[in-house]
């Protein structure tokens, strides 16, 4: 069996119109993958950019997987939310990114989108906040039902992931 280490951080996000942002992230893998150590999902702190546009989280990701096959390569899905001064949370975007498959450090930019409602809902969102969210979170990392959605583009989440692979060459896999 082969092992994969994913060690990195969610650095921050740019391009969002809202300012106090936090990110809920998770890693989803196929059935052949087993998580040996690390937390599979988490939530960053709320960050308000003081200078410039980028909200910084620097949230660590440290995972150790063991796998029996290549299907179901880990995928990272993100939800970016903003928290206003009243403590309410509003969705800013959903993002998705495959964990890279070649060893080394990778800088990833994951763009996000958020579901759009009717024009009335959009107007309400501009003034009061709120807005539609996905009922099932797995629409983010599976493409089957995406065509039903009408979305708007959000910002971009920046990640830096380092990848270590072990024993893949024993099984003839070139990464």
């Amino acid at each position: 069996m082969a092992e994969v280490h994913v060690i990195g951080q969610i650095m921050g996000a740019t391009g969002f119109s809202e300012s106090s942002l936090f990110c809920k992230w998770g890693v989803h893998t196929g059935a052949a993958w087993k998580l040996l150590s690390g937390v599979r999902e988490g939530q960053t702190q709320v960050d308000t950019p003081q200078v410039g546009d980028m909200a910084y989280w620097s949230h660590p990701i440290d995972l150790h997987f063991a796998t029996k096959g290549l299907q179901g390569w880990p995928r990272l899905h993100l939800q970016v939310w903003s928290q206003d001064s009243f403590g309410r949370c509003q969705l800013a975007g959903y993002g998705f990114c495959h964990v890279p498959s070649s060893p080394g450090t990778h800088q990833l930019d994951c763009p996000t989108w958020r579901p759009l409602g009717s024009w009335r809902e959009q107007l309400a969102r501009a003034f009061v906040g709120g807005g539609p969210q996905l009922l099932h979170g797995d629409a983010v990392y599976s493409g089957a039902d995406r065509y039903r959605l009408h979305t708007a583009a959000g910002g971009t989440v920046h990640l830096e992931l380092g990848l270590l692979l072990r024993h893949f060459d024993r099984y003839g896999v070139e990464c």
Binding site: P111, W113, Y147, A152
Partner: protein, 689 residues
Amino acid sequence: MAETAWSTDTGEAVYRSRDPVRNLRLRVHLQRITSSNFLRYQPAAQPGKDLIDLATFRPHPTASGHRSEEEEEEEVVIGWQEKLFSQFEVDLYRNEAACQSPLDHQYRQEILKLEDSGGRKNRRIFTYTDSDRYTNVEEHCQKMTTAAREVPSFLVERMANVRRRRQDRRGMEGGILKSRIVTWEPSEEFVRNNHVINTPLQTMYIMADLGPYGKLGYKKYEHVLCTLKVDSNGVITVKPDFTGLKGPYRIETEGEKQELWKFTVDNASSLAQPEEEEREQRVFKDLYGRHKEYLSSLVGTDFEMTVPGALRLFVNGEVVSAQGYEYDNLYVHFFVELPTTNWSSPAFQQLSGITQTCATKSLGMDKVAYFSYPFTFEASFLHEDEAADALPEWPVLYCEVLSLDFWQRCRVEGYGAVVLPATPGPSWSQVSSGKRCGACWTVWKGSASRVPFTMCWVGFPPPRRRPPRISMSPAPPRTTAADHCVCSPLRGLPSRPAPHAGGPRKPSPGPGEPLGDHGFLAPSDPGPPCKRTRRMVLRLAPSCLFIFLPGDPAGLPRTGRAEKVPGRPLCLVFGTASPCRVAVTLETPRSPSAQLSYCKWLSRQGRLVGLARGGVTPPLVLSSAQPLFWPVALSREQRAAGASCFTAWLQREAQERKRRELGFLAREPQPPLSRVALSCRLGPVMFET
């Protein structure tokens, strides 16, 4: 017969030990230096007749006043935090009124017990343990210099506070407090303690009461012999260091009689027996071995293997974004086309997908829509026939960008295709698709020119369109493929920056060498001078762009997507209608000779419309790794018409060739043309694999 030299080095030494510190034992030997014992003597093996044994000179112990040897020499073995009382303490704590804290009372009990059992064992040597008041006071008021008044600074105050609080901090190290991560109103003390980092220490002082005989128990004669500090990580700091083979340390007392005392400190801890050590090591090895076995049992040894001799391709990617399109509410419909020969894929796999419809937002000057649509693709390649010439064909991903507006109208914004990367590793592919142009999709394969890769043919726009304005200045190419082509150099593709990374360059002065003729452009009129050519471009909407690559087959990568047949140019067909600014940005990774030298811009009838020099200049670098396709959208009628036009062109080309029988690149004098600046403003669809 001099004594071993004194050791003047009283610096501290640091030791590390993994054993529990309660096993630490120190032997301290203290002796006053007098004239008689200063000279070390050795009893002669045979006392000579003439020699008088020096021992006779030693004063005999008497009851009155003479110092006995016990007063001058003392040796004690001290354990860690073992409390040995000094005379002063004994006198103090015997008096119950002086006991204030519970510790004092405890000491008093111990002293009384000691006295009942026959007095204490030590005389001059005593210890201060971690819990004594002395330890804290010493930390605070320790003088470092000989100044008359040394006032402790603010830092000293803070450090002293931290030291006293060490018992509290011990509980907090290493653990993460799950609640109350933030202290909203820190008190002064809290601030003081937490602004200084300190590892909790336990200290012990080994002291000596060097008062004159009979006058023990005065504080002013107390001297520190040795300071021991142990922290929770097993770091033991001894100041001064163990004597070992060095000479003893000495203390000179101040006062009316400057007496000299010498002392040695030695490590008297019992060492672990070799069997014990071995057992301990075996236990550790067992433990680690078992943990390793447990981990590898979790991991397991089976892995999904492929059929031997087959190549299995796993592609994980995302459709990331669409940028630069005119309309809003875009979605991408894509599918993967597997070559029919030798490739197979699992039955359940979905080879196509539609993303969500995304409303765009402005990014710079463009409008961009984000999809982040995941796709995974798996295929196997089984090379059944061992034909060496046949290069494997690689699957291609075709995509179509459409827009859906409020009134449910759906229009095609553009088409694009990209060949899936042949080398493992991450790669970005930017697929350009024509912006609002007419075109048709024709998958054409293996025709007269035997180009064994699929390509999209681009047709012609409606002739009535007004040609848009173009400017001839070399504008910087924006978001062209080379800017984003970050193929990781795992195999074959060398990594180097895109030729026009870093901004626009000055245009090259124009084709230095005369441009050749290509056979099938039989009526090709070399063209009027430069200015008119440009005007021609302006007037006609240019429709087809052919790019010719005079490269050698060795320069092409092994993917075999573009096989060059000797004697024929490698021809990639493009087309666009508006905007007229078009750039082809492709790179050849392998051989520089495979670089583009020029490109011709031909109108529908085959008339030369424009020319540009390639290779060195920024927008034109040809790559056979990833040819860019510019399919454009067409109505159904145009599509039907277009297909026939293309095949007609092909036939015409073949006929011309046969007729001419000219080699490629027959030179013909051409007037020098100024560069037609070409830059891309097409809407790329980004893929990330």
